[in-house]
């Protein structure tokens, strides 16, 4: 089994600010890999570079053997992604969202419908397939996004805080599908989360990033042992310290607030 993701000496600077500072790691094929770190540590920036939407300042990346800067299409075909913010079209139905995804990824029409049914059944949304997404709850949207990300049979699934704001039932369900998938179809999973007990439970391996640098990378058990902690949460705090991170109130945060206000807080 080879490495599905290889990152060497990766750097991303925004002006004088170094968001990602010479990080290196590898993710073996078929593994569930947790990418952990406090707010503003560089997690999302790293995911953006791995998924071709942000160009690195310098460094080496291979995703499924391809370079995200020069072989965008090959890389994009290799992965499915669930973003931190919802990325569904609220004015379309669940089935239309999934079908549109399939069309964009060049999945033939007949197969698209079959896959859509299998996946929507998997996440328990097949009965609600013709409802507009704006009528969905936050948890249903997340499940739909997971189903959509899998439609084109990706080799890698990126999940950027997939369970944020969800109830324990939905979280359990989502990790359930992901675990099944990784085992049955050998899909590599790369996720970020702030829920350490989730990472402890599902991740085969974790990397901890702080201030743009990787401070530890090992199995959850080894991280706990190494820091002499009872839980992964304690290990995380031992590795990254107690200070609360100040994140700049950037354009994104302002827009998130505005959007919440304008839409009456509907997610």
């Amino acid at each position: 089994m080879g490495d599905m993701i290889v990152v060497q000496d990766l750097v991303k600077n925004y002006g004088n600010f170094c968001a990602v500072n010479h990080i290196s790691f590898t993710v073996p094929e078929g593994k569930i890999f947790g990418f952990l770190g406090p707010n503003g540590a560089g997690k999302t920036t790293t995911i953006k570079m791995l998924t071709t939407i942000l160009d690195p300042t310098s460094g080496f990346i291979r995703v499924n053997g391809h370079d995200p800067v020069h072989e965008r299409k090959q890389v994009r075909r290799s992965f499915g992604i669930v973003f931190q913010d919802p990325s569904l079209d609220d004015e379309l139905t669940a089935l239309e969202n999934v079908d549109l995804h399939g069309a964009l990824y060049g999945v033939p029409r007949g197969e698209r419908m079959k896959r859509a049914q299998t996946l929507l059944e998997l996440v328990g949304l097949w009965d609600r397939r013709d409802d507009l997404v704006k009528q969905y709850s936050g948890g249903m949207k997340r499940r739909l996004e997971v189903a959509r990300a899998l439609l084109h049979r990706p080799r890698i699934l990126f999940l950027d805080e997939p369970t944020i704001g969800l109830d324990p039932q939905t979280r359990n369900h989502i990790w359930g599908y992901i675990d099944t998938l990784s085992k049955e179809q050998n899909v590599t999973v790369f996720f970020t989360t702030h829920y350490m007990e989730e990472a402890d439970r599902v991740a085969a391996e974790c990397a901890v990033i702080d201030h743009g640098k990787i401070v530890a990378q090992d199995t959850p058990a080894a991280l706990k042992q190494q820091t002499d902690s009872a839980t992964l949460e304690d290990a995380f705090i031992a590795l990254t310290g107690h200070a609360i991170r100040e994140e700049e109130g950037n354009v994104m945060d302002r827009m998130r607030m505005m959007r919440a206000a304008w839409r009456g807080g509907r997610r």
Partner: protein
């Protein structure tokens, strides 16, 4: 091609599914039509210039198109981090295809909004001179929609947030609309006004639409057509280029 098609269909579905938006966007044209059409109509007639409703109706259709088109281009900002844009940007499809699909869909929506405004004008009392030329008017309306959706796309790709939106409306869309032949004829204007009108693409779009409805073009039909085709092509290229440079 497939991506262009599905993205275009997506926009049309969204449009058809929000009747509130369709009707809401007709409010402004309706006010203009009633207030100016009947308010200034009397003076217009006394000045011997004919029926003012017949004169401004094409201008009002153009207005409905401009606002809808610029807005649908600018929606990129909204879609950008929260909505659907990210989903399309990580798909194995070129950015140009995505931009074309969006612009084409937005242009069709704007054109439909123009048709809705046209129907409203007919209800108010607008009379078409020659119905055989209505398909020509539709072609002009489509080109005009394409032009302004491209402009909206170019702006939406560059602006970081919606706070720039009033700026665009007040310092670009409004002046383009008012300094055109939408509300008053080209003749007998002060020199600087006439000059501004001639440099304004809206003038040619309105003339194309008005000419087709009234069978009387201020310029030649081919001039209007040529100006719109060339400018739409240039702005579509600029809009797609700027769109392809979006980094999230």
């Amino acid at each position: 091609m497939r991506a262009i098609y599905v993205l275009c269909i997506r926009q049309l579905k969204r449009y058809v599914r929000s009747p509130a938006r369709i009707i809401g966007s007709l409010g402004q044209p309706l006010i203009f039509l009633l207030a100016l059409g009947f308010g200034i109509g009397a003076i217009f007639k006394r000045a011997g210039a004919g029926n003012y409703i017949d004169f401004i109706a094409p201008g009002i259709v153009a207005m409905a198109i401009m606002f809808t088109a610029v807005f649908s281009g600018i929606e990129i900002i909204w879609d950008r981090q929260f909505g659907f844009l990210k989903e399309t940007l990580v798909a194995p499809v070129s950015r140009f295809e995505i931009a074309f699909g969006r612009v084409l869909g937005g242009a069709l929506v704007a054109m439909l909004q123009g048709v809705a405004a046209f129907i409203l004008c007919l209800v108010i009392g607008f009379r078409v001179h020659n119905w055989l030329l209505v398909p020509v008017a539709l072609v002009f309306m489509f080109l005009f929609s394409l032009l302004f959706t491209s402009i909206g796309t170019a702006i939406g790709s560059v602006l970081q947030d919606m706070q720039g939106f009033p700026l665009v409306m007040n310092f670009l869309v409004m002046p383009l609309f008012f300094f055109s032949d939408a509300l008053f004829p080209l003749q007998d204007l002060p020199k600087f006004m006439a000059g501004a009108l001639l440099l304004n693409p809206v003038t040619y779009g309105v003339d194309g639409i008005r000419g087709s409805f009234s069978s009387a073009f201020a310029f030649h039909m081919a001039t209007d057509f040529g100006v719109l085709v060339v400018l739409s092509a240039i702005l579509l290229a600029i809009g797609s280029y700027l769109f392809s440079k979006i980094q999230l």
